[in-house]
Amino acid sequence: MERQDMKEEHPRDPHVTRRGFMSGAAGLAAASVVAAPAGAQAPAREAPDLAQAVQAGRLPPLAQRLPQNPLVVTPVERVGTYGGTIRRGLRGSADHNGILRMVGNQGLTRWNLEFTDVLPNVAERWEVSQDSSEYTFYLRPGMKWSDGQPFGADDIVFTFEDVLANSEVYRSPPAIFVIAGRLPTVTKVNDSTVRFKFAGPYGMLLQQLATPLGQHPTLFAKHYASRFLTKYNAAGLPELMRAAGVQTVGDLFRAKCGDIEIPARWGNPEKPTLDPWVVADPYVGGATRVTMRRNPYFWQVDTEGKQLPYIDGINFSIAQDVESLMLDVISGRMDIQERHIDTLQNKPTVAQNAQRGNYRLFETVNANSQQVVVYLNQTHKDATMRAIFQNKEFREALSVAINRQEIIEIVYLGQSEPWQIGPRPTHPWYHERLSRQNTEFNPAKANQILDRLGYNRRNAQRIRLRPDGQPLFFAVDVIPTLYPDQVDVLELLKRHWAEVGVDVKVNTIERALFFTRTDSYDHDAMVWPGPGGLEPITAAWDAICYHPQGSRYAIAWALWYATNGREGQEPPESHKRRTRLYDQALATSDVRVQGELMKQAFDLAAESFDVFGICLAPNLFGIASNRLRNVPARMPNAWSWPNPGPSLPQQYFFTS
């Protein structure tokens, strides 16, 4: 089923190192200098309202607002025209990332459309030391914040020294920048050059900077944010805190300057940003909509030198119930929407109404690997259960007892294929055995294994008995409000397993309880989507037991790894070898070496068969108004590639 996956037009060439595409990046940047001459007779190079403001003297001319070498964006279809407002929907609570995905994706680096390479963004180029511990970023001279103040090395140094390392604001610095327990030393080389020196090798930095969690360096404007810190404004703080109604400096800073993923990031219209649109009506408690308008200082242009974004503004309506988002979509009141409505079950309804709503569907390639991973808790607190779940043959029996094709037909509308875990088939690291073993439907084999394991007696309900006389039973936790499809899958699983004499309870629980139970590994078993289909190195916790919130088949072992043996339980040798390989893979920036190390880890994971699943995570969809152009027909769907942001909404435009 190759058509499910994004065609990777530039598959990872195992012989190209990071340095290889760095030189390509430099080439692109060089081209951009040519493409942005500050021409006098270029009347259509900015939006009409901005041109008016310039005429009226309220705004400096375009040439002074753009950096010397703005980022040149090649439009997806064609060069666009200015105007229009994009209508999009948010959910009422905790949906700040819905804004981030559309607007706030301006890190030092960015992803390409295929999610395979890192491209220059705020940084126009960079240099990496031989051991990948020292990075030098060259920013764009003359670049401005959205309030017209210059952006430069000072802002980044400020962010690291006065914000991230400041215990008033961050009790502990963000994990993504911490190597060997320390933040990097960030020094200003000149106004537009900064150097990051890490305490050890950091092979993944450029990719991490392209993800949302790597946005800190471009988040805080020193000239604005410094007034909320004791170091810069000790005298004025009490008054500011009183006015904001908060008690601590940390609260004040967060309320005014936000953080990567908190609602307050979009709650303060005064805060300068580097985004294509800036907040007009903020995202605050009780808001029924959020509006954003064009940033007149946005630092990107199209191939004709016209300043982006094309679209005047964005209007996010806030729906308490996602069903009203669906209504808005099918009645044509949304210009682009995939968030909250893109379940496969919704697709027929949305597709059938495309003509009435005057929209088209685009495909989003699922970055996940497995739609439903079944995690049997191998570090169960009950010794008998632990022994049952740790038995690889038991897990194999359960896996082959599943009629995956039936589940795919019923729940996933026939849109997937039997699958376990691991990189998706189109990924260069695809691992046949890890992904396909034990996916055949073979109840006879399952019965045979279970008989052999000593569960050959059955009770009146035809459920197998354990040697101690108890029925072979366990509960599977699932959050119905989050993943209703998983409940459906479990109901089918319950029947499939009952047919081989294994009894399960579908334990539908509330989400906070779900997390509390798994964090302290109190669950028998649980289900969750399996990540790592398109980003196998940053989300490999189904194969490698390192993530105390992710590796839910053995949280105790992951805890042991994450705390260097202080907490949790010591894992078996196979797991220790895998985490060692993983550490090595993270430290290198050589893609080829990384691939080899990960293959060894995947071999071990395939051998030990810790978790099993149902089917490859199916591709989802989004809708775009027929009037809205330059929206790619396919894009990844991931958090690291926070769709649709990296498809550059700033180059979307409306046809009249």
Partner: protein, 376 residues
């Protein structure tokens, strides 16, 4: 004094009958005249019979999924009664096709495949009243390997008709206990409060105010999360109903107190007191019957309110959860644009709720009127 009462023939024989009849007999006579109430009574009885043995009325196993009948449309309008001149009800088999682009399912009738229906047919096995295994169903396809979908099928190909039958059991039974518990506490405490007044009244009133001041939603939320996880879902919901009833008594107690306060000085109460009747006797024999009708009205409205509360809880994701089948759960599953637009038959459980609530309300309404002591 009502029109019909006035119109009743006042023949001597009848008068004698009225004089000799017990209070309950009088109530029954009065009740029979209320046409809607009689209908309500029969419908309620019918629903409770279904709730006792839902599987007997089902056509196929309500939790059995079927890949070939996902979103199968209802066949109730497609019934053919005559086959080659004789009376043999049947439907045509339907074949599922999926649109490759929109993924929308379409069903094409296949006239060569006739599915005959019969009464008392053999189907899936179940336990009648939880006691003995049976395979007989009231009606269904003559060939147990075939399926019919009177009210269509849901997203997993499960028969909606059978699921409504199964849902009746939980929805109709659960909540009854809650209502009766709140009734009991409410009358006792409200009565004491209203009759004695003074210090006791003050203390009970403050408690009631306090309990009323606690909003229900957070209590539901907190309790739903705090109940032990290893309980079966029905048991959990039963506990929530019981706790809700402990809150619900407060409203009833306040109403009862209001009536007691005004009745306290009525002549017949004063007379009873002067007669030396005990306090309990005065409350329960004299005062309580005088506003029985009001209590019956409250209870009548409380039972369907419990049924509706169950659907509301399910809507918020706090009540029963699938795979448990209740009307609330079924409605929750239908509560989306997808169902309205492409599978409106999934709202059939809503009709079941409406019918049950209507029937119970009319029943209680008739009871209320019949219990009115001044009617005759």
């Amino acid at each position: 004094m009502s029109d019909t009462a006035a119109a009743a023939p006042a023949v001597d024989r009848n008068a004698a009958r009225f004089a000799a009849a017990s209070q309950w007999r009088l109530m029954w006579w009065s009740f029979r005249r209320h046409k809607l109430a009689m209908i309500g009574l029969f419908v309620t009885l019918a629903i409770y019979i279904v709730a006792l043995a839902p599987d007997f009325f089902s056509v196929s196993d309500p939790i059995r999924q079927n890949a070939r009948s996902v979103y199968h449309p209802p066949q109730i309008g497609l019934l053919h009664f005559f086959d080659e001149g004789s009376f043999r009800p049947h439907v045509y088999g339907m074949t599922l096709r999926r649109d490759p682009v929109t993924l929308a399912p379409t069903f094409v009738p296949d006239p060569s495949r006739k599915i005959y229906l019969g009464l008392f047919v053999q189907g899936y096995e179940y336990n009648l009243l939880g006691l003995f295994p049976v395979e007989t169903h009231l009606f269904g396809p003559v060939d147990p390997r075939q399926n019919i979908y009177l009210f269509g099928a849901d997203r997993l190909g499960r028969d909606v008709w059978s699921r409504i039958m199964a849902g009746a059991q939980i929805s109709m039974s659960i909540g009854l206990v809650g209502v009766f518990m709140s009734l009991l506490i409410g009358i006792v405490l409200g009565g004491i409060s209203g009759y004695y007044g003074g210090g006791i009244d003050f203390a009970i009133q403050r408690t009631i105010e306090f309990i009323l001041a606690l909003p229900q939603i957070p209590i539901w939320l907190a309790l739903a999360a705090a109940l032990p996880q290893n309980w079966p879902a029905t048991y959990t919901y039963f506990m929530i109903t019981v706790i809700l009833s402990l809150v619900g008594w407060a409203q009833l107690a306040r109403v009862v107190r209001g009536r007691f306060l005004s009745l306290r000085t009525e002549d017949f109460v004063v007379a009873a007191r002067l007669d030396g009747a005990s306090e309990m006797r005065i409350i329960f024999r004299q005062m309580l019957p005088s506003f029985m009708s009001h209590i019956v009205a409250s209870v009548t409205l409380a039972i369907p309110a419990m049924i509706l509360a169950e659907t509301a809880l399910s809507f918020l994701g706090l009540g029963l959860q699938p795979p448990v089948v209740s009307w609330g759960v079924l409605l929750r599953e239908a509560q989306n644009v997808r169902s309205i637009a492409t599978a409106p038959w999934l709202f059939a459980p809503g009709a079941a709720v409406v019918i049950a609530v209507l029937a119970l309300n009319f029943l209680g309404d008739g009871l209320r009127d019949a219990a009115d002591p001044y009617q005759k």
